[in-house]
Symmetry: C2
Subunit: 358 residues, 2 copies
């Protein structure tokens, strides 16, 4: 029954060789292989046997050319260290698979010429999802505009290009409020609001929490958000470079590296300094004190991106708006809450399911 895969080499089997071997026409082979109706059972068997026998592997490119679409989604991510992008990718791939689409991945950091890479990508996919402006330069987006669907993830919508984001501002306000409730008075926001829309919105929430209490928020400490950046900041902080009793960090990597340095230096967290982050990475729940942070529905973000891309590809008109996904506060000990205790609080959600405009 099963193919013994006779021909290990020889000339590649094509639809013609299969047809010939089965004694039918290529149209019939095509019908059988596409699961088309209206084929006699006996004929079907013959074709299947011939194909299996020849080890026939259809040429995707030929099919794509004929049907006029690639059945593939492109995804452009900055890189893959840390769990954020990986989870996004998982969500994207899973949904794309459900939709019958392949996913072609491009990592911006490994491309000296991103614009070229994205153009090249556009050549072999039906649509592209990209993470923020980092992964999709505005000029490239403009060039693609109108001829290839594009979805921006965690970034601002550009000229009618849709975007999908997690709620940031309200949860940042809730988180900041929570820290203020722990009787902290000198909060410092660590991260660059100009670096990414996410960070910008988080800082906005940070400011809003202060304002609503008649307090004035301090300027942010503008640093990138990798581990080493946190370490450098911690060094300055320990040297007295900044005065603060609470550090609201733009992400967990930053928060964790800073917290580790402080603890190593004998500064207690949270009693002396509160440290909170963003993303709820695995490490956040393993360190002591546990890191208070905000959890985003990252996989959903990816899945939704694949979904919207598919919608656009299959003809839906772009809305030019943003979908906003709700986030959750994750309270652990680093903010001053009871040790070990983990509480989840879901902030009032801005939008659900259908999302809202910007």
């Amino acid at each position: 029954m099963a193919g013994t895969g006779t021909s290990s080499s020889g000339p590649r089997a094509t639809i013609y060789s299969v047809a010939e071997r089965a004694g039918v026409s290529i149209a019939t082979v095509s019908r059988v292989l596409q699961g088309g109706p209206g084929v006699a059972a006996a004929t079907r068997e013959k074709v299947l046997a011939a194909a299996d026998d020849l080890g026939y592997l259809p040429l995707g490119a030929a099919r794509s050319l004929a049907v006029q679409h690639h059945e593939a989604h492109g995804l452009v991510l900055p890189e893959l260290s840390g769990p954020y992008y990986s989870e996004l990718l998982m969500g994207f791939e899973a949904r794309a698979a459900e939709l019958g689409q392949s996913v072609v991945l491009v990592l911006a950091d490994s491309r000296p010429d991103l614009a070229r890479a994205v153009r090249q990508l556009a050549t072999r996919v039906d649509g592209i999802a990209a993470l923020g402006a980092t992964a999709m330069p505005p000029d490239v987006a403009r060039a693609l505009h109108g001829r290839k669907p594009v979805v921006i993830i965690a970034g601002d919508p550009q000229e009618g290009i849709e975007s999908i984001v997690a709620e940031n501002r309200e949860s940042a306000e809730a988180l900041t409020s929570h820290v203020l409730d722990h009787d902290r008075t000198r909060l410092l926001f660590v991260g660059d609001p100009d670096g990414a829309p996410d960070t910008r919105d988080r800082y906005a929430g940070f400011v809003a929490a202060h304002t609503s209490r008649g307090l004035e928020a301090r300027d942010p400490v503008r640093i990138p958000f990798r581990e080493r950046d946190g370490e450098r900041f911690a060094a300055r902080f320990l040297a007295g470079g900044h005065e603060a009793d609470a550090l609201v960090c733009a992400n967990d990597e930053l928060a964790l590296s800073i917290m580790a340095r402080l603890l190593d230096a004998g500064v207690d967290v949270p009693s002396e300094v509160v440290v909170v982050g963003w993303d709820d990475v695995m490490t956040a729940r393993y360190v002591r004190p546990g890191l208070t942070t905000v959890r985003q529905p990252v996989q959903d973000l990816g899945a939704l991106a694949a979904d919207r891309l598919h919608d656009l590809i299959t003809g839906c008109r772009p809305t030019g708006a943003s979908r906003v996904l709700p986030t959750e506060l994750v309270l652990r000990a680093s903010c001053g809450c009871a040790q070990t205790e983990t509480t989840l609080v879901r902030p009032k959600r801005t939008a659900r399911g259908r999302g809202t405009d910007v």
Copy 2:
């Protein structure tokens, strides 16, 4: 100079429309766009202007059909949680990019029918790299055999299919020896040797370390290596289900979750129980005590896979052997070494660069 991208919609620009607009033949357009020689500068400019003007985006499928290859590598991974697969993917993507190849990603866990997914993948790439037997079922591999290059990562070579692995056995022996040097006598290997070749080899090293001292290694505790599995094991361990003064875990996720549970229960690590892992994930250096583990050159593994795949695609004959990449011991405090101290020890390497046969 730059294209104003006039046509936002209209019929897609093809090589024909570009040719027409530039007043040349499609052959000339093709030459210009492929950077071919023998084109007058003036002509080149005309073509470029026309293409840019029309917002011309070549159809990859048509090119692939004409040149008879996809210029894409397929990669099949189980999933992407944890840093291992992500790093592998980064290494793979980066090298593939250097080689001018796109990468099409398939995550096995999101595919109800893996065999189908892989066959489908084979349809649109020039070769496939897959992580172990998990991601490449032997029967599918067999079906592909001879008609599409395949490279197995971190798995056993199958019937002449090449594989690329990290050194496991010797470092496992070194690690186990190190634990024994800390005067431990009741070591337990936690992980299923039958689950993956990596784990099998690590257990083999575990056994070897015992044997060489005239000791007898105990049977492994056969459990999967996710966090929850570690937690379940820890519960059993705390209930007295296993007697041991050292736990050699198949990976860091397992080790970390177990260590956390033990510490929470008041069991001291390392004085009462030593815990060591594998992979050197980020968390390993943040927890206290720091986790002693083994670091693999995961990105290199991915890059090498892309390399070999490219070699095979461009005509090199498969060797049917394994490349073995060296690993490093990372000594921290969980094994009983001085707190905070981090030492790197590189075991005698089995192979380097060229790799060795199996």
